[in-house]
């Protein structure tokens, strides 16, 4: 199965964008296309693609709704593509279960990286016991965090945040998703609490907290752990 060329479904109503994506991804992936949300759902049901690139501003059924419908029965990774004006839609799609997002216009390299991360997460969860990125080492089995060779002392919540981010390394997590994972569903809107903890966490694991290398803020959306593996 690992040898099979992954299939990607591209959903966008703009012809030039479809053409550009097909051209740039066609060398490595098998591409199919859809122009509306309805067609996309149809295609997912019949073709079972490995990943979907979904434009938010579709005519008729919009991207958020498509994500919601698909998540009722499939875990196939979905990468959202949106323009800057659609902040709230973007967060809604991510909360609905989309795996990642990209803001238009974007470079092909960036897209490739996101696709790689998304496809990796679909493989059976085999999170390494030890996460290593740059000077940061986290031993999940022993709950030990090292910055270089120095052990870092984290509060339980800070550790939980870091662990959750590591489990989805390279992928954006919305405020809501992080809060739900660390504090539980009752705290979904306590963004303030999350910010304070992330800020403290950064002071402990970033050499220069004002120029973070590990925990990247996605403005208006959430956080992403940079994955340098």
């Amino acid at each position: 199965m690992s040898e099979r060329v992954p299939r990607i479904l591209i959903v966008d109503d703009e012809r030039p964008i479809l053409r550009f994506l097909s051209a740039s991804l066609g060398a490595q992936y098998e591409i199919s296309e859809a122009a509306t949300g309805e067609d996309a759902i149809q295609a997912v049901a019949s073709e079972h693609p490995d990943l979907m690139i979904l434009d938010l501003g579709l005519p008729g059924m919009d991207g958020v709704e498509v994500t919601r419908r698909l998540r009722e029965w499939t875990d196939m990774p979905i990468i959202i593509v949106s323009v800057r004006e659609q902040e709230s839609d973007k967060v809604a799609a991510l909360d609905a279960g989309a795996n990642d997002y990209l803001t238009k216009p974007f470079g092909a390299g960036e897209l490739m990286a996101r696709i790689r991360v998304a496809l990796r997460h679909t493989a059976p969860v085999e999170v390494d016991a030890v996460f290593q990125s740059g000077d940061l080492t986290v031993d999940l089995a022993r709950r030990v965090v090292l910055l270089g060779s120095q052990e870092v002392d984290l509060t339980p919540k800070e550790y939980d945040i870091l662990r959750t981010l590591i489990q989805h390394a390279g992928k954006v997590l919305t405020h809501r998703q992080l809060l739900r994972a660390v504090w539980g569903t009752a705290y979904e809107s306590e963004t303030h609490m999350l910010r304070v903890n992330v800020s403290n966490l950064r002071r402990k694991i970033e050499t220069e907290p004002a120029k973070p290398q590990h925990i990247i803020t996605e403005p208006g959306v959430g956080y992403r752990l940079r994955d340098n593996r």
């Binding site: 303030h192 004002a210 803020t217 208006g220």
Partner: protein, 883 residues
């Protein structure tokens, strides 16, 4: 005095001819059944044959076969149906006529009164409107319906006609055709049943159709037509400027009183004025608002003045110390040659005391002729006061007698101790008190009663008229004289004071309006000031309608009164026809609002609507005149405010225009430059025949990519600006870590910041800021972008964050070329770019977007010179509440 045709009059006449107003032809008859309608139809058939577009607007055939047959071949417009309290009434459809716009329209029965709810109260007003639209009109009229002949007809025939048309209508008609039929023949037609008589009035009409009556009416109509021919002759001479027969112009002044005969006098004066071809004036002299003048009298005066106006007179209320004085003042001012007054109705004995106004007028008339017109006492019902009023004369006379009684009682107490010559002073006091508080009549009574009481009770021998000492005769005489003089003097003083107070109140009200208007700066304030003053002075609800797209719309109104659609329609009519309309006028009198066009030299600026707060109260003539004064003042101020507003608009437009040009200049350059690079690269690669080596290709692509990013930033900025300007920017306030804000901004610009050292200095205990994370990151991006653009490639940047009181300040600092001191403020203005020879691109939008965003947070942004060279830009935003 030499009379030459007035050039202005000639001009007016020429304009009237040019204006294209329709011509009016009246078929004048002396009674029903003489064949007016038939003659009119006959004439219209003739016109039809000449190719004129003739339409029947309204014809009453009364089912007469010969008339009905004449309708054949004519285009008859359907009548409008009006629903009046459940009854269907049909009236002429004026709007349909105006829409159809024929050359000639036939309208029967000019004197007809329209059903309530129709636009005009009278049909002749409908005809006026049709004529104004440039349509010729044929109409019919019976002589008894002419306003000025109304009384004469009533006297001759004993029938009072209520439907009248003003004489001016006849004067304005371009043609009058008298339909004559000898009375004998008319009576024959009547017997044959050829004359239509409504059933319910049959008897009265039978009375009316007597040979004597008919002959008199016939004579009247022929004479009226002859007068009219005479007028035409004169008018012809005037247009040809033939001065030799110019008559010495007569000017008539008619004085009226609250007497029920006043209307009759006005009508008679109108005939006199007509015969003399004179201008005429009707005045009521207000010696003061005497308590005697009860509301009924006042209403009658208003009604009479109104009638005079409708008959073509200039009607005025004038004030003065005495009637003759006021009348002669007015007469001399207006070159009056004849004065018309009514015969006094008061019993002869009353004139012994107060003197007859007519006598006084005749005595003082000098070279002015005085005409005295008699009254027919039987035909008039005396005016009955509807209710007992405290200011009724009887009470005041009784009070004055009471005062005399009181004086007598005091006198009786002291007559044993005090000389009668001194006791007389008590009576004098009673007379003076009466004069001051009760008016002239009661004080006269007090003087006379005082003399009698003094004689009977205080002068020995008591209780008789007999006087023991003849010296008391002197006392009586002096008491009486003093009483008379004092009462006259105090009465006059009081009257003048009251008149002065009234006049002053009016002047003060108008003055305070103009003062408040002067301090009003914009249209809204002006209008509200007008509304406030008018509703205060007249006790009315007020609305101001201003034009909008060729119509008027309600602009402002008194609180508690919102004009409804009907009232707006009245305002629109007043606006379009430049005439008062609504309540108390002839047009749409059923409406609840009275609308005055607000006119200035420049035209109509709007409409003033006055609406009574309680039903039933009508404005008096003075109030109406005073209201006109207010309206003039209001019109001027509204015009001034509107002009100012227009000027401001024009200024704004010019500024916007300038801005737009700047935008186009700046943006077209900045949008095209990246596109040139991108298009160039792509076309080069497209046509490439393997000549370009890999390194060149990569460099080309890299440039194109950078340019595309720049284009993206520019478009983003333009969109942001648009959003800020449209107020569409949503600010989602959250507690945000300052370090995170700065870090994210730096992270997003990582590529472009390569090779620069950026030092960030934020104390660890800096509280969170309460901002929209995305927007503030955007601001920091823009500030960093500017710092990069305006500083040397390898110079360091610095960012500081700190708390200052209750706000968070973030400063972005560079070691660049700096901003000239004069420009430190202006850099935040839209499209402002510091003039630089260097090739630095940018629209000058970045900093203005920053300001827009920061101000939307309730924050500030400013630029400073940095010590040691360079620029500091600081934003200050609110601090989050510590949680």
């Amino acid at each position: 005095m030499e009379r030459r045709p007035d050039p202005e009059a000639l001009l007016a006449q020429a304009q009237a001819e040019e204006r294209g107003r329709g011509k009016l032809k009246i078929f004048l008859g002396y009674a029903a059944g003489v064949g007016k309608t038939f003659a009119m139809l006959e004439a219209s058939h003739q016109r039809l044959r000449e190719g004129v577009d003739v339409v029947v607007g309204y014809i009453e055939t009364h089912k007469r076969a010969e008339t009905e047959s004449m309708l054949a071949g004519l285009d008859v417009l359907p009548r409008a149906s009006i629903d009046y309290r459940g009854i269907k009434l049909t009236e002429m459809d004026v709007d349909a006529i105006l829409r159809r716009h024929p050359e000639l329209v036939l309208v029967d029965e000019m004197a007809h009164t329209n059903a309530p709810g129709v636009r005009h109260a009278k049909r002749y007003q409908d005809i006026e409107e049709i004529l104004d639209a440039g349509i010729d009109v044929y109409t019919t009229l019976n002589i008894q319906h002419l306003e000025s002949l109304n009384d004469a007809v009533a006297q001759v025939t004993g029938v009072i006609v209520h439907e009248t048309v003003p004489d001016s209508v006849i004067d304005e008609a371009s043609d009058i055709e008298v339909i004559d039929l000898p009375p004998e023949e008319l009576l024959v037609r009547l017997k044959e049943g050829k004359v239509y008589i409504p059933d319910q009035a049959a008897r009265a009409i039978q009375e009316f159709f007597r040979q004597g009556n008919l002959t008199a009416l016939r004579e009247m109509s022929l004479r009226r037509a002859a007068e009219r021919v005479d007028d035409q002759m004169r008018s012809y001479m005037r247009t040809r400027a033939i001065p030799s027969v110019w008559p010495a112009s007569e000017r008539l002044l008619v004085c009226i009183s609250p007497s029920p005969h006043a209307e009759k006098i006005v009508r008679a004066a109108r005939r006199l004025a007509d015969e003399l071809n004179a201008d005429w004036f009707v005045v009521y002299v207000e010696v003061a608002t005497r308590p005697e003048l009860n509301p009924n009298h006042r209403a009658r005066i208003d009604q009479t003045l109104h009638l005079a106006e409708s008959l073509g007179a200039k009607a005025r209320t004038i004030a003065g110390r005495s009637i003759p004085e006021a009348v002669f003042n007015y007469a001399h001012k207006h070159n009056i040659t004849k004065i018309v007054v009514g015969k006094p109705l008061r019993p002869r004995w009353r004139e012994w005391f107060s003197g007859s106004v007519v006598d006084q007028l005749v005595y003082a008339s000098g070279d002015i002729d005085i005409y005295v017109i008699g009254a027919n006492l039987e035909s008039v019902q005396p005016l009955v006061s509807p209710a007992w009023r405290p200011h009724r004369p009887a009470l005041r006379y009784a009070l004055s007698l009471g005062l005399v009684g009181l004086a007598t009682l005091v006198g009786l107490l002291f007559r044993a101790h005090i000389e009668p010559t001194n006791l007389v002073m008590i009576y004098l006091a009673a007379v003076v008190i009466s004069a001051v508080y009760l008016g002239r009549g009661p004080s006269l009574l007090a003087a006379i009663a005082g003399v009698l009481a003094f004689d009977i009770f205080l002068v020995p021998p008591y209780y008789t008229f007999a006087v023991s000492d003849t010296q008391y005769v002197v006392t009586f005489f002096v008491l009486l004289t003093i009483g008379l003089v004092v009462s006259t003097l105090t009465g006059r003083v009081r009257e003048q004071a009251e008149a002065a107070v009234q006049g002053e109140a009016r002047a003060t009200a108008l003055y305070s309006l103009s003062r408040d208007l002067a301090s009003a700066t914009n249209l809204e304030q002006v209008v509200n000031t007008i509304i406030m003053h008018i509703s205060e002075v007249f006790g009315r609800d007020v609305a101001i309608f201003l034009p909008k797209d060729g119509q008027v719309a309600t602009f402002a109104h008194s609180s508690g009164y919102v004009p409804d659609e009907n009232e707006l329609a009245v305002a629109n009519w007043a606006f379009q026809h430049d005439q008062p309309a609504g309540r108390g006028t002839d047009t749409l009198p059923a409406a609840s609002v009275r609308c005055h066009p607000l006119k200035t030299g420049g035209g109509i600026v709007g409409v003033l609507g006055v609406h009574p707060s309680q039903a039933g109260s009508a404005l008096t003539l003075e109030q109406r005149q005073s209201l006109l004064g207010f309206a003039d003042q209001a019109a001027l101020s509204i015009e001034r405010a509107m002009l100012a507003e227009q000027a401001k608009q024009a200024e704004l437009l010019a500024a916007a225009d300038k801005l737009q040009t700047a935008l186009l200049n700046s943006i077209s350059h900045d949008l095209r430059t990246p596109l040139v690079a991108i298009t160039g690269t792509l076309s080069t690669l497209e046509q490439d025949d393997q000549h370009l080596d890999a390194a060149t290709q990569r460099s080309l692509i890299h440039t194109a990519r950078e340019e595309a990013d720049r284009l993206n930033r520019l478009v983003g900025n333009l969109l942001d600006m648009t959003r800020i300007e449209a107020g569409a920017m949503k600010v989602k306030l959250e507690a945000c870590d300052v370090e995170d804000l700065v870090g994210t901004a730096i992270g997003q610009m990582e590529e472009r910041l390569e090779g620069r050292t950026i030092s960030v200095n934020i104390p660890a205990d800096t509280p969170m800021a309460r901002v929209d994370f995305v927007l503030i990151v955007h601001v920091l991006n823009n500030l960093l972008d500017n710092a990069l653009k305006y500083s040397p490639k390898d110079s360091p940047l610095e960012i500081q964050g700190r708390r200052a009181q209750n706000e968070i300040q973030i400063t972005v600092m560079d070691r660049g070329i700096g901003i000239p001191r004069d420009d430190l403020q202006k850099v935040f203005d839209k499209f402002h770019r510091v003039q630089r020879p260097e090739q630095v691109t940018g629209t000058g939008l970045g900093l203005s977007i920053c300001r827009g965003i920061v101000e939307a947070h309730g924050g500030r942004i400013w630029a400073e010179e940095r010590r040691g060279g360079g620029t500091c830009v600081t934003i200050a935003v609110p601090m989050a509440e510590p949680q």
